[in-house]
Amino acid sequence: MRNYYLYKTALRLFITLSIMVSLAGCSGNTEQLNDPDREIVLAAARDLTPGDKDPYYTSSILQVWEPLVGIGEDGRPAPKLAKRWEHSSDYTEWIFELAEGIKFHDGTPFNAAAVVKNFERYRNITPRVSTFYLFDINKVYPNLKEVEAMEGNKVKLTFSQPFSTLIYSMTNFGSAMFSPYCFDSSTGNFSTAASGTGPFKIANHVAKQYTVLERNDDYYGGKAKAKTIRIKNIPNAETRYSALKAEEIMGVLDIGSLTPALTSELIKDNRFAVAIGKSTITHYLFCNGEKAPFNDPRMIRAVSLMINRDVLVKNFFHGYAIPTGNFLNGASPFSKEIKPRRNVEEAKELANAVLKGQKANITFLLPQYGIDRYPYKEITEFIQAELKELGLNASIVIMDWAAIQDARATGNYDIIIGTQGLPNLEPAILFKNYMKRTGSANMQYRLGYNNDEAEQLLDQLDATLEIADRAKIYDWLQDISVESPPCIPLFADMNLAVHSKKIQNYEPLLYGITLDKIEWVK
């Protein structure tokens, strides 16, 4: 007891230090609680502003830039910066009439000359990788010959081949417009922060930490409600949950914003709510059709009949997904509803016919992103148990996406669970990728899909220019995909907009949320 003083001195020092630390932290929080203009903090899993080398600088969901053609509420292309358009009867010439009186954030007027400059940039950056969508002008605007500014604020695109679905191809990321003064015209890299026409401007950005958006008070349309929004970058899903719960953030956005399980856990707490919307993403099982047992199409059908999609959706998606039997995602305006069929007896018979009473060992690949964003681990383990009843002993291997690509290259797998988004609202590319013999996804996933009827229809599609005629072909293709599926559709994803009830009008869009509408509840 006598001489503790050394220990005590150290202890005192430590306590003093701790107090100093806590004081330093508390001093920052002196915001006024009822100011409607106070900053709204949201979070996303990735840095939504990749910056100067990215083809788009920032994600479209931050509403900094706008495209010529957007997506309407019905999922169809809708006018945005282009007011209206028309095409020549052979679909080689398209004329876009631009909206009037619009200025970029830096004050530069948006006009035909600016559009031409942006198309020059498209050419200079092609191809450019991105965490959003790879940009390649030859894919978005195939056979584009010329872009010219015309009288009366119009722009003419001339193609060497007819391109009837141009409008679908141009939506959102396909026709982002930036001020010609914010990028280097030769490299296409941004030289300042991106300056678009949208309701928000980028006020500040710290890579990997946050982006601060400020309302564009000169916006031509309905101005944004919130004055400033800070989008934090929180890569870890559980941490986003904790941050919501601690009310550090008011909502989450972007893909994988909050997993279904965490969402249903969170809204048990009355302070939070979720708004649900359509998503362009479908979850599939891709089967290696180049080797046994999935080289027999009956086995694919057996698996599809065996899987209890309803239980999977109920237990693991907590209801935030729709069981589907349709290859084509419901967000496409050409999609129709096809309910999945389940019949265990039939499944077992089919499997038995293929395996002849034997058991087969198969490899089931599970991509890491599916664990970060969706309940894939639980789902694969559940399916693993179901497959066992069919005589398939599946071993699950969790892999990064990159490793899955390697496995696809070597063919060293039997099933991959994964997502496929609609690359485009016009599903031609999707159908071709999966259902043509030479389709890229068909080859990469080694689906071994080989259907003469589909082949013929897809060839016919190239010659069919009228949208109504194409719709008929899509209809037909969907029916074929049920009869003989290229892969097994499981569920259609839903966009979940999870938020605190302290803010309102937080609604999901097909891509993103209604960022310009959100505001504090008064």
């Binding site: 050394l6 220990y7 430590f14 959003f132 559980e238």
Partner: protein, 315 residues
């Protein structure tokens, strides 16, 4: 003085093969990897599906079609010029990326280190002072137990209790010292335990030495002896451990950084692994290796500052 200089020069020279070895290890990491970065790069959005020709072009563009030894040498030459290459994913120089994240990890590591020093050393001294008493025994056991807590588990518990339930500390982000409290505690726990025991043992050993016995005989109060003679002399093994540990945090904070969403070096390498961003992974290994080696060197130097008698001959 010459001896010291000679020793330091020798140590410095030894660093060169070590650094070279690190570059080789980093390069091998890229080579043994089974995936093709060109394909990964072209399919980053998960929607595009590149053709074989596109992949071949990209491989050529990235120089991946050259023999390994050529790739290594040109890469080494590049590094010697201070150029770690360009990240496949962000298209930025890796050096810039690392510099962007270094301050985060450095401040996390420094804060953790402070925490360790201010808890473990006093407790170690206390344990030595109360040697073989009940409190010594309890603390020794406690020290062993806290070294056995998985840091990531502790981190989850912290976040649950202090952020979600008590709303006391921020879950994530970087900016103020407050943001560092939970991650640092989670990181520090293990080392606090180790260091407590080390400090205790080191001090006890010093206290048995001749000059301490002399001091005791002179009738100096025991705490005074600990303070004046014991503590400083016992710090050498402690500093070794701390030096190694600082390097280890810089390299090993990945799990904690990922849980608390700290944009430091650790989250960077996890991101790079996910994206098969080889240049980034390699750059990270080289960079952390360099920091590690540097700190070990600093530890060597600090030996002399503390006690120039130590190292003159022998191991």
């Amino acid at each position: 003085m010459n001896d010291i200089l000679f020793y330091l020069v020798k140590k410095l020279l030894l660093i060169i093969p070590v650094l070279l070895g690190i570059t080789i290890a980093a390069f091998i990491l890229g080579v043994i990897s089974p995936s093709d970065p060109a394909a990964v790069l072209l399919n980053m959005d998960g929607v595009s599906t590149p053709s074989a020709q596109e992949i071949a072009n990209k491989r050529h563009e990235l120089g991946l079609d050259r023999p390994f030894i050529v790739q290594y040498l040109s890469w080494l030459l590049q590094i010697l010029h201070g150029d770690l290459g360009v990240s496949y994913i962000t298209q930025r120089p890796i050096w810039d990326e690392l510099m962007l994240r270094l301050p985060v990890t450095i401040s996390l590591a420094s804060f953790t280190l402070l925490l360790v020093i201010f808890t473990a050393i006093p407790m170690g001294v206390f344990m030595a002072y109360k040697n073989n008493s009940k409190s010594d025994f309890v603390l020794r056991t406690a020290a062993l137990i806290i070294t056995s807590i998985p840091a990531f588990w502790l981190a989850i518990l912290f976040m649950w209790i202090f952020s979600e339930e008590l709303h006391l500390l921020p879950t994530s982000g970087y900016g103020t010292v407050v943001h560092l409290i939970m991650p640092s505690f989670a990181l520090a726990a293990g080392t606090i335990g180790t260091l407590m025991r080390l400090q205790r043992a080191a001090l006890l050993e010093v206290l048995e030495q001749h000059f301490i016995l002399t001091a005791k005989a002179k009738g100096l109060p025991f705490p005074m002896i600990i303070w004046k003679h014991g503590l400083l002399n016992s710090l050498i093994p402690v500093i070794t451990l701390l030096g190694n540990y600082f390097g280890a945090i810089i390299s090993g904070s990945a799990v904690i950084e990922s849980i608390f969403s700290l944009p430091g070096l650790g989250s960077y390498v996890l991101e790079a692994i996910r994206g098969r961003d080889y240049p980034a992974i390699q750059g990270y290994v080289i960079f952390t290796g360099l920091v590690f080696v540097l700190f070990n060197f600093l530890v060597d130097i600090s030996y002399f500052l503390l006690n120039p008698k130590i190292r003159l001959g022998g191991k």
